[in-house]
């Protein structure tokens, strides 16, 4: 492992440590604050308050890319949302595997339709990047920009169980890949694919809620697998399992 890589990993660990601070802080004072019970369910947080979740997302690699090695790759998954008005809220998400990261920032507008049904529409812009420096194997890095217009429909069942279905279109705006001194850039807007997510949210223990869901992405390119240099011009299936504690 090179010094540069070790420094990077230490840097990311530091970021993750910092990321944890607000969540633990908010967890300690949970009893004194309004209950935070949804991240995916289309309902804005209280205006000017944060609503966060911390968990893992597991992405199964498609056989076309990883061949006989089919693994479920974990990533730390942080959601941070803030109410702007009673219907409009900011939605941020940070996914990291230390050597590759994705930060997504977006706006959502949510409104109830009935006392159980709610909908939202949003637009997220996501920047991703990764770097691999491994002796005799990789001297590569890549980064890019995607955006995801999305709509969600949520239904609140009895006993605080929330069911949310979310649809996204994944648009590619920019991609840059470097190996050694060579680089290639693709900056043409194109539809990369689409994704459907189904999520259940409910209390798990005392006032702690969880999001448990499944995301099915059909896309031409997946940022988590940039280092495999997918050359297929066809959508591949990337199933994801989502599990997070709402903080």
């Amino acid at each position: 492992m090179t010094t540069v890589r070790r420094k990077r990993i230490r840097g990311y660990l530091f970021v993750v440590f910092l990321l944890g601070i607000p969540f633990f802080a908010s967890a300690q004072s949970a009893e004194s604050k309004p209950r935070k019970s949804e991240i995916y369910f289309p309902q804005a947080p209280l205006p000017h308050t944060w609503r966060n979740s911390l968990g893992l997302v597991f992405t199964t690699t498609p056989p076309e890319l990883t061949e006989e090695v089919r693994v479920s790759v974990p990533a730390i998954d942080l959601n941070f949302q803030r109410g702007l008005t009673k219907r409009l809220f900011f939605a941020g998400r940070f996914q990291t595997q230390f050597v590759q990261n994705n930060l997504s920032l977006g706006l959502r507008w949510a409104r109830p339709i009935t006392d159980r049904l709610a909908v939202s529409a949003g637009y997220d812009v996501s920047g991703w990047g990764g770097a691999l420096e491994i002796k005799d194997v990789f001297s590569s890095q890549a980064y890019g920009l995607e955006s995801m217009p999305n709509v969600s429909v949520g239904y609140r069942l009895k006993n605080d169980l929330r069911l949310t279905v979310k649809s996204e279109v994944i648009l590619d705006h920019y991609y840059r890949s470097e190996v050694g001194t060579l680089a290639i850039v693709r900056d043409r807007l194109q539809v990369n694919g689409f994704a459907f997510t189904i999520v259940l949210e409910q209390p798990f223990y005392h006032q702690r809620y969880v999001s448990a869901g499944f995301r099915a992405a059909y896309s031409n390119f997946n940022w988590q697998l940039w280092s495999l240099y997918d050359t297929f011009d066809r959508n591949l299936f990337y199933p994801q399992l989502i599990f997070a504690f709402i903080l």
Binding site: P63, E64, E67, E68, L132, D136, V137, F138, S139, S140, S177, E178, V179, G180, T181, L182, I184, S227, Y229, T231, F232, D233, R234
Partner: protein, 374 residues
């Protein structure tokens, strides 16, 4: 007929320029000649077979894009352009005339209806360069008509643009060297039969009776594969990738036997043993005699020098490594890069003009960028 052609009709599908190259396949005393067309878009290639008609040369076959599942039939007629007029090509081209290949291509199994016109522009780039096809010709994931590491894909490799191939060698439980890439029997490579576990835990008799590759072929022995290379193809280079752990003597003996057979058959063919890991390096070092055993080293330059490997083959993900490549070439070594499939990077590596060859799953793309380079 070989050369770089400008595409007029059909350029949206196949790009503005293509490279045409002949290859042949020998079956005993019979030979079949194929015309391949390599394009710069979507790793597309044509596989065409000529049939002489009464007054013209007609090429029939199919086209395929490796990056997706697009495929179709093609029917082209070779014509000569004389004083601005097209006329039948008689096999000889007077000075001042040029070749025009006109015809139709289609989609799927439908009869071809879309026009395709290719006009001769210039000869192919003559610079010596090895175009090596991964896994004996191509990857199963690219939906080729033959399975990777099969005798059938070896026979297809030249039509995909390859001048050489890399094949993956393992030992069966009873010590028979065979071609197989993965660590385990799995449905990516073989037809469903329920068997799991490593290939090395089965005898050749068991594999031969019960296991078929995805397109129905048997797992070939290394000897069957090299027999096909020497006596059926015009390939000039074979890279035996060491996927096994253990003694190298049986593979060395087969390598020497077929290098000798190729020489006797008047074939320009070199078979080398690839050393991808320190385990493979140890197996090589443990050989009693290293005479007549050409090797290719994938490890760093110091190791490559220390064992006297004639070929150094670093990963492409390390970048062009210009200083190292020039230093190794200055010492008389050949330098290949592997396994490079990204078309834009293939173009950049070729344009840098420093490597002696590229190993790729997309040999049609390497062929296109190499032959059209000016």
């Amino acid at each position: 007929m070989e050369g770089v052609y400008v595409v007029s009709d059909g350029s949206t599908q196949f790009g503005s320029e293509v490279a045409l190259k002949w290859s042949y396949l020998l079956e005993g005393t019979d030979s079949t000649h194929y015309l391949s067309v390599f394009t710069g878009i979507d790793a597309a290639y044509f596989n065409l077979e000529g049939s002489a008609q009464t007054d013209s040369l007609v090429m029939n076959g199919y086209w395929r894009k490796l990056v997706n599942a697009d495929i179709g039939l093609a029917r082209l007629v070779v014509q000569a352009k004389h004083n601005g007029r097209l006329q039948a090509f008689t096999g000889k081209l007077p000075v001042g005339d040029s070749l025009v290949i006109k015809g139709l291509y289609g989609a799927g199994k439908d009869a071809p209806t879309q026009p395709l016109t290719l006009q001769y522009a210039r000869p192919l780039n003559k610079r010596p360069f090895s175009i090596m096809a991964h896994r004996s010709g191509g990857r199963t994931a690219d939906l080729l008509p033959a399975s990777e590491n099969s005798v059938a894909i070896i026979k297809l490799a030249s039509r995909l643009g390859a001048t050489g191939i890399e094949m993956d060698v393992r030992y069966t439980k009873d010590g028979v060297p065979v071609l197989y890439h993965d660590n385990t029997l799995n449905l990516r490579l073989i037809q469903k039969n329920g068997l799991t576990g490593s290939l090395e835990s089965y005898t050749y008799k068991q594999l031969s009776a019960l296991v078929r590759l995805v397109n129905g072929e048997k797992i070939p022995t290394l000897e069957e594969a090299l027999e096909a290379v020497v006596y059926n193809t015009d390939l000039t280079f074979v890279w035996l990738d060491t996927k096994y752990a253990g003694p190298m003597e049986p593979v060395q003996a087969i390598q020497q036997k077929y290098n000798q057979k190729a020489k006797q058959a008047g074939r320009d063919l070199t078979i080398v043993i690839g050393l991808p890991t320190t385990d493979a390096l140890d197996s090589y070092k443990a050989l009693e005699s290293k005479a007549n055993t050409p090797i290719l080293c994938e490890l760093d330059t110091a190791i490559t020098r220390s064992i006297g490997a004639g070929i150094w083959a670093p990963r492409w993900t390390l970048g062009p490594q210009t200083d190292e490549v020039l230093a190794m070439k200055a010492q008389g070594r050949t330098v290949y890069v592997w396994t490079l499939d990204e078309p834009t990077f293939i173009e950049k590596f070729i344009n840098q003009n420093r490597f002696d060859g590229i190993l790729s799953n997309y040999s049609p793309v390497v062929a296109f960028y190499h032959y059209t380079e000016q």
